[in-house]
């Protein structure tokens, strides 16, 4: 449908006064802004020489947590891969070689390229085995390199817990009850 002429509102450029025609006031106000920033403290981060200080709840590369004995904590329940909206977690479960649990992941692969870093996996995990760390500078030379397997994900755990500075996500609640169960107790 064409636009009716009564709906059209015509505007013209505002007429310039003397101040505008001289241009000098505008030049000086621009210079004032420039000078203000010369005096102010610098805010630019010198990445990559300087590491950014990310909030602790940043959702970066995943890690698979270890238990006290250094074994993978995951029990291969597939809750994370069920919750994953990007279908990027692939697990193969097997009867566990240890006596204290029945099931463990024989393989555990996350496609870090397919992942959308939403954090649903760590929310779904019943044993706090999978977590997102604040590691953000994820690079790889091929798609295959970006498929993180169990060993790689465990090495992320070692990297973020043992090396300094420690980069433990604040969500870690290993050993303690989840929020839901505590809330239930108090009610």
């Amino acid at each position: 449908m064409p636009i009716a002429s009564k709906d059209v509102k015509w505007v013209s450029t505002p007429k310039m006064g003397l101040g505008d025609l001289l241009y000098f006031p505008a030049v000086f106000s621009g210079m004032a802004t420039t000078l203000k920033h010369v005096i102010q403290p610098k805010v630019t981060e010198q990445y990559p020489e300087q590491e950014p200080n990310l909030p602790a709840n940043y959702r970066g590369v995943h890690r698979l947590n270890r238990d006290e004995a250094g074994r993978v904590k995951c029990v291969a329940c597939y809750m994370c891969s069920t919750a994953c909206p990007a279908h990027c977690i692939d697990i193969v479960a097997a009867p566990s070689p240890w006596t204290d649990r029945e099931k463990y992941p024989e393989t555990f692969v996350i496609d870090e390229l397919r992942c959308i870093y939403c954090g649903m996996c760590e929310e779904a995990c019943p044993v706090d085995a999978i977590e997102l760390t604040s590691l953000y500078d994820l690079t790889g030379l091929s798609r295959e390199q970006m498929l993180f397997d169990k060993e790689k994900l465990l090495s992320v755990f070692d990297m973020t817990t043992k090396e300094s500075p420690k980069k433990d996500p604040i969500r870690t609640r290993a050993g303690k009850l989840g929020v839901a169960s505590e809330a239930l107790k108090n009610s």
Partner: protein
């Protein structure tokens, strides 16, 4: 007409002898239950089906019993009033019965009783749902969610008896998950008859166990896993392979023997993981045998034929089919041609193949080898292994799903059923032969090897043009000019006709392995039909041409269709 009132809704039960669960089912009300199973005796031990029961007097007043009763153990009669825990969910506008005002709110007693029952069942039940294979199809999960409470008042430690992985070579027992419904025990006593399982100890210490030195090893043992309402009994074959919510269910029919058990194929990512029986009293009842249940792995076998071969050269389908067509046409002009229809084909495929053979005036159609292993195996059995009447389950000796269906097609197109032996006897006279096969094999399956023998291959080798369509290489495929990869039964749509003339639809759960094509697709292509093969499209033509399938519905019926037996030619076996 006897009328039962379920949550105020009148239901006519006719002269059927029903318990409260069945009568409520007729009214569309579900009464949760664990220990009750339509095929097993009633023990009323789980107390999950507690309902309020009363009687509607001729004057319209209702006299309710003061206590809740187990619905599975309470028969209904004319005027019985059943009030379930879901009384408050009855359809809006249902006129309430004339309850005594002193009785209180109907349904409250049952609701409380079921919640208490669940709390009791969960006292010692471990909450290891994340690692339990039953999670997702667990009745304890489902009922706790619907009828239970969110909290437990248990302050003591849960009892954790050790697991018993050695009760059977195929089945493992997670003792702590058991809720003592005794379904498995009753199954081995009443259906299998072998009575390996029992309950040892009493009260809180009761456990399922086998007798010393007598593991649970019978040919129906896998059913206890399906019967178990919780994750206590697990199939070692399926253990930790998949979470059940990833599996796609396809209703189908087991191809293991001519009983034709109704099943569901559970598949994920184009691989079959599990077969489970589907209730069909027309076919087999509720159960299936272990050979069928765990014998399907040949479908996923890496050794299957995957690409069409001309001799020992791999050729694409686009070259193989025109080559076969022209060579068959040339052979058809020189002399008679033979088409062997395997009892593993679906009826639709056999019909298409027979239609294709119509192009050759001097054609002969034969029935492929019908594997027979031992004798029909009837259950229950006594301790000596003798079958006991009445028979509740039969594993048939004829290890092919569709002999009768193929015979009906042969009766229409050949006039009589010519067996494979007759084909071998006449083999020298043929200028060309097409052998459909699709014979399964493998461990756990009654057929360890192809039914084709070297001797047969020798006789067939005299035919100048042999085309074999099979799942695996066999002696006959070695002498064939063309070997085509066939589709297994889990990869097809179609119809199987079981030993009693029950036509049941099978469903496609996965794609054919590699480049394999189903026989239906191949014959559809050879006939010059366009596009993908759809069994439903073929079925109308089949019903028109083959009188036995006149009443076969185009869209599959859940429990199958019984075909007129006189039209299926009699049981002549190969």
């Amino acid at each position: 007409m006897p009328t039962v009132y379920v949550n105020d809704q009148p239901v006519e039960i006719g002269d059927a002898r029903l318990n409260c669960i069945e009568a409520a089912g007729k009214a569309g009300a579900f009464i949760p239950h664990y220990c009750w199973h339509p095929a097993l005796t009633v023990v009323a031990s789980c107390r999950m089906c507690l309902v309020e029961v009363g009687e509607r007097k001729p004057d319209g007043s209702v006299a309710m019993q003061p206590k809740v009763v187990p619905g599975c153990q309470t028969p209904v009669k004319d005027g019985t009033v059943i009030v379930t825990s879901e009384y408050h969910k009855r359809p809006a506008g249902t006129a309430p019965l004339n309850y005594d005002p002193k009785y209180g709110t109907p349904g409250e007693r049952a609701k409380l009783a079921q919640a208490d029952t669940l709390e009791g069942l969960l006292l010692n039940h471990p909450l290891d749902c994340p690692v339990c294979d039953k999670a997702g199809e667990c009745k304890l999960q489902d009922f706790s969610y619907t009828y239970g409470r969110a909290t437990s008042r248990m302050v003591d430690d849960k009892r954790t008896p050790p697991n018993k992985p050695d009760i059977s070579s195929k089945i493992t027992l997670f003792t702590d998950r058991c809720i003592m419904c005794s379904r498995c025990v009753r199954f081995t006593r009443e259906i299998a008859g072998t009575a390996e399982l029992t309950i040892v100890s009493r009260g809180d210490h009761a456990e399922i166990d086998v007798f010393p030195g007598e593991p649970l090893e019978n040919k129906l043992s896998g059913n206890v896993v399906d019967l178990c309402p919780v994750g206590a009994l697990g199939s070692k074959d399926f253990l930790y392979k998949q979470r059940v919510w990833f599996l796609q269910d396809t209703p189908s029919v087991c191809a293991g023997c001519s009983t034709g058990c109704s099943i569901t194929i559970d598949a994920n990512k184009d691989a079959v993981y599990r077969l489970q029986p589907r209730e069909n009293t027309e076919a087999q009842g509720w159960f299936m045998c272990d050979e069928g249940r765990w014998g399907f792995h040949y479908v996923n076998d890496a050794d299957r034929l995957r690409r069409p071969m001309a001799g020992s050269v791999v050729q694409p389908w686009s070259e193989v089919l025109p080559a076969i067509r022209s060579r068959f046409a040339a052979a058809g002009e020189q002399g008679p041609v033979a088409l062997v229809l395997s009892p593993f084909l679906t009826v639709e495929e056999a019909y298409l193949a027979a239609e294709w053979a119509q192009a050759y005036p001097r054609r002969k159609l034969f029935l492929g080898p019908v594997p027979v292993v031992g004798e029909d195996d009837r259950y229950p059995k006594d301790r000596q292994g003798r079958a006991v009447e009445p028979t509740k389950f039969t594993i048939r000796a004829e290890k092919a799903p569709n002999r009768r269906g193929i015979e009906a097609v042969l009766a229409r197109y050949q006039g009589e059923v010519l067996t494979f032996d007759k084909f071998l006897a006449e083999a020298k006279s043929f200028k060309a032969a097409w052998l459909t096969a699709g014979y399964p094999r493998g461990t756990g399956y009654p057929l360890a090897d192809s039914p084709f023998t070297d001797e047969q291959a020798w006789q067939i080798a005299g035919i100048p043009l042999v085309v074999v369509q099979d799942l695996f290489a066999s002696p006959v495929s070695k002498v064939a000019q063309y070997t085509l990869p066939a589709g297994a039964w889990a990869e097809k749509d179609g119809t199987f006709v079981n030993h009693a003339g029950l036509a049941q639809a099978i469903g496609r759960a996965t794609h054919p392995a590699g480049e394999a094509r189903t026989e239906g697709q191949v014959f559809s292509d050879l006939l010059g039909r366009r596009g993908l093969y759809r069994a439903a499209d073929v079925r109308s033509g089949l019903a028109e041409m083959v009188p036995a399938f006149k009443d076969l519905p185009v869209l599959p019926v859940t429990n199958g269709t019984r075909l007129p037996l006189p039209l299926l030619t009699g049981g002549s076996r190969a």
